[in-house]
């Protein structure tokens, strides 16, 4: 065994480390006959003593820093609480927004497009008119155009009905009454250039499938026009 190999054991011997009995005895025997390794062992023993003295040095107990660290803890707690509160507020706002959307709040502009999952569609087109006189005169059922969103859509004749899960888009727009008439609606107005505000149900292929007049103003104009006829 070389001095180098023995010195590893001598270091462990000097520091009181783990050393097999056999290695210990071999290292000690070597140091007894090797002057350099004996000096090495002496230095290592002196080093161990110095390090033990150094390790025994008194250090602050940490009371000075405790306040700072606990203050950091308090700040972190406050941040956490604020974060939780903010999360709840955000979640509440998001939930409220979802509810508002779910109940059908829609923007006013005519170009507004609202997606509907499953719109109500009536089987047959009604007659759009208001005066009782006109109804009586023609002898057909009359549905007064209303702005209520719960009015059913009326299928446009000669179009394929929407499948139950098919998605559709509702576009609110002004439609010439002539278009309504062409679609099979009975509209009683004197001015063929008049327009009716309506929700048009457009299927995914871009075709209008159903329609729902929504403007009270239009229904009034229809009413006025109808009265004018009489």
């Amino acid at each position: 065994m070389s001095c180098r190999e023995h010195r590893e054991a001598l270091v462990e011997l000097a520091r009181g480390g783990e050393l097999a009995a056999n290695d210990r005895s071999q290292a000690v025997r070597h140091a007894e006959h090797c002057n350099e390794c004996a000096q090495f062992l002496d230095r290592q023993l002196a080093l161990t003593a110095s390090l033990k003295e150094y390790a025994a040095e008194e250090l602050p107990d940490g009371a000075e820093l405790e306040g700072t660290v606990l203050a950091a803890f308090d700040r972190a707690r406050s941040r956490e609480q604020v974060r939780k509160r903010t999360w709840w507020i955000s979640a509440s706002v998001a939930a409220a927004a979802a509810v508002v959307l779910a109940i059908g709040l829609r923007p006013e502009p005519q170009s507004a497009r609202i997606e509907l999952g499953n719109p109500k569609i009536a089987a047959a087109p009604p007659v759009v008119a208001t005066p009782t006189q006109a109804i009586a005169k023609r002898g057909v059922p009359v549905v007064v155009a209303q702005a209520a969103d719960d009015q059913p859509f009326v299928t446009i004749p000669y179009t394929v009905p929407l499948a139950p899960e098919e998605r559709a888009i509702v576009s609110r727009m002004s439609i010439p009454v002539t278009a309504l008439i062409a679609a099979g609606f009975h509209v009683q107005v004197s001015d063929p250039g008049a327009e009716v505000e309506a929700d048009v149900l457009v299927s995914q292929d871009g075709r209008a499938r159903a329609i729902r007049p929504v403007s009270l103003a239009i229904s009034r104009s229809i009413e006025t026009s109808s009265r004018g006829e009489h």
């Binding site: 270091v11 230095r43 390090l51 003295e53 940490g62 606990l70």
Partner: protein, 191 residues
């Protein structure tokens, strides 16, 4: 570092994570001395050691979920945090005290005739400076294994290297320190 009860640590950490201030305070008091001592031995500077220790605990406050009891005990975890703080600080600013091998050596006869206390203090200061002058990888081996009296396994866990590496680094460090302390045998005074 100290070896506070691991089981107790786990309970305290759970409570601390739930926002229990007293649990955190208890953890701090149990582990502060070991972290401070480690930082002090590594830097040789009480003020810097205090800052490092404070930073380590504040980091722990902000990252309570980083400690995984399955991967080791809290003492080793905090030791690792302090070690990273030290390395980061060292990278940022080279503040380590140094003592090179060519330090002035005076014969014992020229040694100042100070009192025994002063002499002891000076010797302690010499040890501190000698340890602080070691390269990082050797210094942490001496600090953990000799000053903190940790086993090779524990030191390896903190440093994040194999046990054999810790052992060889420690031996190399002690050889360097042994040469610095040669004055003891040869009757010389190193300043």
């Amino acid at each position: 570092m100290g070896r506070p009860g691991t089981r107790s640590d786990r309970d305290l950490v759970e409570r601390f994570r739930d926002g229990d201030r007293e649990a955190f305070q208890e953890l701090y008091r149990a582990h502060f001395p070991a972290v401070l001592r480690f930082a002090y031995y590594m830097t040789g500077d009480r003020i810097v050691a205090g800052e490092i220790t404070q930073d380590a605990f504040i980091w722990f406050v902000d990252h309570p979920r980083q400690f995984n009891p399955e991967r080791g005990d809290l003492a080793a975890f905090l030791g690792g945090v302090a070690r990273k703080m030290l390395l980061r600080r060292q990278t940022r600013e080279r503040r380590w005290l140094s003592i090179d091998d060519s330090a002035t050596v005076l014969p014992r006869a020229q040694r100042p005739a100070w009192s025994e206390n002063v002499e002891r203090e000076q010797e302690a200061d010499l040890v501190r400076r000698a340890v602080a002058s070691l390269p990082d990888r050797y210094r942490e081996a001496v600090v953990l294994c000799d000053l903190e009296e940790k086993s090779y396994d524990e030191a390896a866990s903190i440093i994040g290297c194999p046990k054999g590496t810790v052992r060889s680094r420690l031996h190399r460090a002690r050889e360097i320190l042994g040469r610095k302390f040669q004055w003891k045998k040869e009757g010389q005074w190193c300043i």
